[in-house]
């Protein structure tokens, strides 16, 4: 039993880590792009927003018939989680960059920073606490949604919960539910700490 919980927990961490990782790699550039292009960015943000509104079980349902990325199994779960994780990361990147004091930007431009230097040296560092907050939300939500992924054979701690439900076995349910809750709390605490450290400077 213990071995199974550990295996499911690691699997759960793996799914969420891959999904949030990809969402960070895609979401931060997308957020920067949204900040640079007000109109197109608004449309992109609305699309990402709409994805977030779809109930998670429905989103898994939609993805199953999609070729290449869909089907039954972990791959579909990861794709769905990436889509979910995108919104907080894109939105917070955008908000963070927009929130940089215009006077600071103005003086950066006036000192002869190129737009790339402005992004790397001023906008991203100042937006970083907000971006990390987005990553934290994506991770915590992702850990929760990933439990539902077991419904489409995605693996992870949800497998234990669903099995517990169908067998009316409370111990089995808790074997999945408690580690999932602990993971979410732990992620929240760690990333909140990172966020605070960044704000302090």
């Amino acid at each position: 039993m213990t071995a199974e919980i550990i295996r499911a927990t690691l699997e759960h961490i793996f799914i969420v880590a891959i999904a949030v990782g990809v969402a960070i790699i895609a979401g931060i550039p997308l957020g920067i792009w949204c900040a640079r292009n007000a109109r197109a960015g608004g449309v992109a943000l609305r699309i990402v927003d709409a994805i977030q509104t779809i109930p998670s079980l429905a989103l898994f349902g939609f993805l199953i018939p999609v070729p290449f990325i869909g089907g039954i199994g972990m791959r579909t779960a990861i794709v769905a989680l990436i889509l979910y994780s995108l919104l907080p990361i894109v939105r917070n990147t955008l908000t963070g960059i927009r929130g940089v004091d215009p006077i600071v930007l103005d003086s950066g431009v006036a000192m002869g920073l190129t737009s790339g230097q402005l992004l790397r040296e001023v906008e991203l560092p100042l937006a970083m606490p907000t971006i990390v907050a987005g990553i934290r939300i994506a991770t915590v939500v992702g850990i929760g949604v990933a439990t539902i992924a077991a419904a489409i054979g995605g693996g992870g701690l949800g497998t234990l919960i669903f099995r517990g439900v169908s067998m009316v076995d409370t111990r089995l349910m808790l074997a999945g539910a408690l580690p999932a809750a602990a993971l979410a709390l732990l992620a929240d605490v760690v990333l909140t700490f990172v966020e605070r450290r960044l704000v302090k400077r």
Partner: protein, 237 residues
């Protein structure tokens, strides 16, 4: 080396109308006028933060349209109200920004920072590692001056740099500024007449997006223009 600045029939729709002005290399000129008169926009034309909708802006007789703005900005100091310091960088890192962009060796940057901060009464050893938010408004503005002047710019653009400071700190900073300001062309925007008369040798008065008066500072107060008299009256005790 100070640079000359020239405006040839410059307009910025709908703010500025047909500005003609030549500022010689090394001159210190104050732009004064009421809020919205066009002073700041004119100032921002010089480093390309504002673009003309008609006419040409020239620095050292070269039109900005054919100039690399990044290079120009690195030799143009810019001091604004509220300092615009990078909040995530230390005092030293802030001051080192332009020399670093220009590729100065670290030792040269440190020596220059030490020298200019000493002149501004902010010893590097004590202030270098501090962050801007831990400084008073006057100290922040001193760092702003150091940051704008460390790389010996050709032009210094000042937009109400001392506007948010209390009168005593303001006076101290004007003195520090005057002591530092040789070898550079200065454009200084202010709506404070006594400040303009202290820091500049020539006064250009803006009203409604046009230049309505341009004269040596010493002769400004005796000009018969009603707007000049209103400025003089407003400034006297």
């Amino acid at each position: 080396m100070p640079a000359s600045v020239e405006f040839r029939s410059v307009s910025v729709d709908p703010i500025l109308h047909d500005i003609d002005l030549r500022i010689a290399a090394g001159e210190a000129v104050a732009f004064i006028g009421r809020s919205g008169a066009g002073k700041t926009t004119t100032l921002r034309l010089v480093n390309g933060l504002a673009r003309p909708t008609a006419g040409d802006v020239l620095v050292d007789d070269v039109p900005l349209a054919t100039t690399d703005l990044i290079t120009l900005r690195r030799r143009t100091g810019y001091i604004i109200q509220g300092s615009g310091l990078f909040p995530h960088r230390t005092v030293y890192e802030n001051i080192a920004t332009v020399p670093r962009l220009l590729g100065w060796p670290d030792a040269d940057i440190r020596a220059a920072a030490e020298e200019i901060l000493a002149k501004l009464d902010l010893p590097l050893a004590k202030f270098g590692d501090r962050y801007p938010r831990s400084l008073s408004g006057g100290e922040q503005q001193r760092v702003g001056i150091a940051r704008a002047m460390i790389a010996r710019p050709s032009i210094l653009l000042c937009d109400e740099p001392f506007g948010a400071l209390d009168p005593i700190v303001r006076r101290d900073l004007q003195d520090a500024f005057i002591a530092l300001r040789s070898g550079v062309t200065i454009i200084f925007v202010t709506h404070d007449l006594p400040e303009a008369l202290r820091v500049a040798e020539r006064i250009v008065l803006f009203d409604g997006g046009r230049i309505v008066m341009d004269c040596p500072a010493a002769q400004f107060t005796v000009q018969p223009l009603p707007l000049v008299q209103r400025f003089v009256d407003a400034a006297s005790l």
